[in-house]
């Protein structure tokens, strides 16, 4: 019973996600098709009408709009996003080359944001009148108003310019494993990761921390927490086994969305630290109006966002047994 329910739910969510992707695909395609003339962009100054016509046919621009859209989508689904106006290389090739840098940065930042954010959130909720907890809360308020790029510059000034401990730009040495280039395996690669991942993770960390704190305070007021204490459970068991687990249900949604924004906010961090990832690629694409790269980035990040949303929904099932149950029973 409950499996059938879950399956129906998942199918419904997948269909919704697909619709969102179709809409985003339409936006991306419209950009591709109508912003600037692709033919203009691809042919140089010395072009003849014959060249133009040939290219139009070659690109399928003479076909009706819906046909072009379907072709664009099926191309995108196979990872074919056309050729970068600026670099003259297939966009997919550039993306594959740049993706590891962004994903490694986002993974480390996300990890920092979640672990430290949840930890500090729990701490400030349990010791809610303590001096340290109040100090952390005040600091976090400043952290929320501080633009990400200023945090990055501040860190560079402190640790690169003044102290000279850490590099201020780039990924350091990377090791190539197949098509994936990793900075995890060299000392300079790891050192180069520190400042950017702190910069990128800090904002999400404060958000997660404040959310965990307020949710946890709410949960700590519940009867089952009082009952757990009345049964003589240790504080650690009450706070973590009972309170934290219930806190996590709402926290997961927001955290999931935050992880999506980490990929988007990576644009800023990558610019500050000249990190050779997808975000820096996107910013350069905007500066030079490199439409295929912009469209591809949009598609890619949408797939990621929609995927994360879907995973978040499924995680609910894993954590909350009430959702797993057949809805017709109880309540």
């Amino acid at each position: 019973m409950s499996f059938a329910f879950m399956l129906a739910y998942v199918i419904q969510r997948v269909i919704q996600s697909a619709l969102v992707l179709l809409v985003v695909g339409l936006v991306a395609f419209s950009m591709f098709r109508f912003v600037g003339d692709p033919v203009d962009n691809m042919l140089g100054q010395e072009r003849t009408q014959a060249d133009i016509d040939r290219l139009r046919t070659q690109l399928g621009l003479d076909q009706p709009f819906p046909v072009q859209y379907v072709k664009f989508l099926s191309g995108a689904a196979q990872g074919n996003f056309g050729v970068s106006y600026r670099q003259g290389r297939p966009v997919s090739e550039i993306l594959v080359q740049r993706a590891p840098a962004t994903l490694e940065l986002a993974a480390v930042s996300g990890f920092l944001a979640i672990t430290i954010g949840i930890g500090l959130g729990v701490f400030t909720a349990i010791r809610r009148n303590g001096f340290t907890a109040n100090a952390i809360m005040s600091l976090s308020l400043i952290g929320v108003s501080l633009p990400t790029f200023l945090i990055g510059i501040l860190l560079i000034y402190l640790f690169s310019v003044e102290l000279g401990w850490l590099p201020s730009f780039g990924r350091g040495e990377t090791v190539q494993i197949g098509w994936w280039s990793t900075g995890f395996l060299t000392e300079s690669g790891l050192k180069a990761l520190i400042l950017p991942s702190i910069t990128l993770g800090l904002y999400q960390m404060t958000l997660i921390m404040r959310l965990v704190r307020s949710e946890m305070l709410e949960v700590l007021r519940q009867d089952y927490i009082r009952f757990a204490r009345a049964r003589g459970l240790r504080d650690r068991a009450v706070n973590f086994r009972h309170a934290l687990k219930n806190t996590l249900v709402p926290v997961i949604t927001v955290t999931g969305l935050q992880l999506g924004s980490i990929i988007a906010f990576a644009i800023i961090t990558e610019t500050v630290f000249q990190w050779p990832g997808v975000g820096l690629l996107f910013i350069n694409a905007i500066q030079f109006v490199d439409i295929p790269v912009m469209a591809a980035y949009l598609m890619l990040i949408s797939v990621m966002f929609v995927g994360i949303n879907l995973i978040v929904d499924l995680l609910y099932f894993a954590i909350d047994p009430r959702l797993r149950a057949d809805r017709t029973k109880a309540h």
Partner: protein, 326 residues
């Protein structure tokens, strides 16, 4: 009577506020013996739950015990702090809350909630504790206990959940149970079952019970003795039969008059005029005098006589001798 399981002497709980100090529990004393069920009655806000919370050490700040002593099995516990107090909770003193829908953690299997409680107090291995959890569920009358330990709280009905709560409160075999309105949130048809279960379990094990309720019917059915509270003070204490049939405090009398009891025949229901005063605006003299049909000049001037250790009523002119004024 042998040494009581619970002994409260002159217990006073204070809450400091901007307007001054409130005393939701004010100089209360009573004992509960082995296997005895003491019913604590009173309107909401009379301080009955607050007294229970003080005993189990779960007063939420800024409320605190300001005066008095609490002894459990002869040992003084009101000054215990932190881990020492925690060890007593569940082990010596169990507690049953009002609403079984909210007192179980929705995300943990009930078997896990039982096992963690057992392991926190008894020197057992995990598998022994799990066996014991099944046994505890079985004792509170949950059919198919061996399978039901793997269920989540939402898979039980309200009455069944309250049985689980009772199993949780009793699983480390405490000598005292504080049951705070254990039947209020339940369907009427289930209330009697839960009371009967509580009564039977405690009789068999010799557990002392502090049964907090505002329902005189529950008291009549389950309690051995009754303690009546009004505005933080104990106003009457005595064996259940005596208090119910021949109440001595006018407030108890009023409570009885406003409760439909089969034993009292077909008299009309009465109500006590007015409402219990707020703790920050207690009247001079006896706190009950503005609502008391028998109040005299002395009641307005002097605080009611203290009811210490012994039984009786904290009243200048206890019934049946008092004469109705106006």
């Amino acid at each position: 009577m042998s040494e009581p399981i619970l002994s409260i002497r002159n217990l006073t709980v204070e809450i400091p506020t901007r307007q001054g100090i409130l005393r939701p529990v004010n100089g209360v004393s009573y004992d509960i013996g082995r296997g005895e069920i003491l019913g604590v009655v009173g309107e909401s806000g009379a301080g009955k739950s607050m007294a229970g919370n003080a005993v189990i050490g779960l007063l939420s700040p800024p409320a605190r015990i300001a005066e008095g002593e609490i002894h459990v099995n002869g040992a003084r516990i009101d000054q215990l702090k932190g881990d020492a107090m925690r060890r007593l909770r569940g082990k010596e003193i169990g507690m049953v809350f009002q609403d079984p829908l909210t007192s179980l953690n929705p995300l943990l299997r009930i078997g896990d909630q039982l096992t963690e409680t057992i392991l926190a107090h008894l020197p057992l291995s995990r598998s022994q504790a799990e066996e014991r959890a099944v046994q505890a569920l079985d004792e509170v009358g949950i059919p198919g206990a061996a399978e039901r330990v793997n269920s989540y709280p939402h898979e039980f009905s309200g009455g069944m959940r309250q049985r689980v709560v009772i199993a949780l409160a009793l699983c480390a075999e405490p000598s005292l149970i504080i049951a705070d309105e254990p039947t209020t949130a339940l369907d009427v048809s289930v209330q009697a079952q839960i009371i009967a279960l509580l009564k039977q379990l405690c009789r068999n094990r010799g557990t002392a019970v502090m049964l907090i309720t505002h329902d005189m019917g529950v008291i009549a059915e389950a309690a051995d003795r009754v303690a009546v509270m009004y505005a933080g003070k104990l106003v009457e204490l005595g064996p259940v039969r005596e208090v119910l049939t021949t109440p001595r405090h006018p407030y108890t009398d009023g409570l009885m008059g406003s409760t439909p009891l089969a034993s009292r025949g077909k008299d009309r229901l009465h109500q006590i005029p007015g409402a219990m005063p707020r703790l920050d605006s207690l009247p001079q003299g006896c706190a009950f005098h503005p609502r008391c049909p028998y109040a005299q000049a002395q009641c307005k001037a002097d605080p009611a006589p203290k009811l210490n250790e012994g039984e009786g009523a904290a009243c200048w002119f206890p019934l049946p001798h008092a004469t109705k004024v106006a």
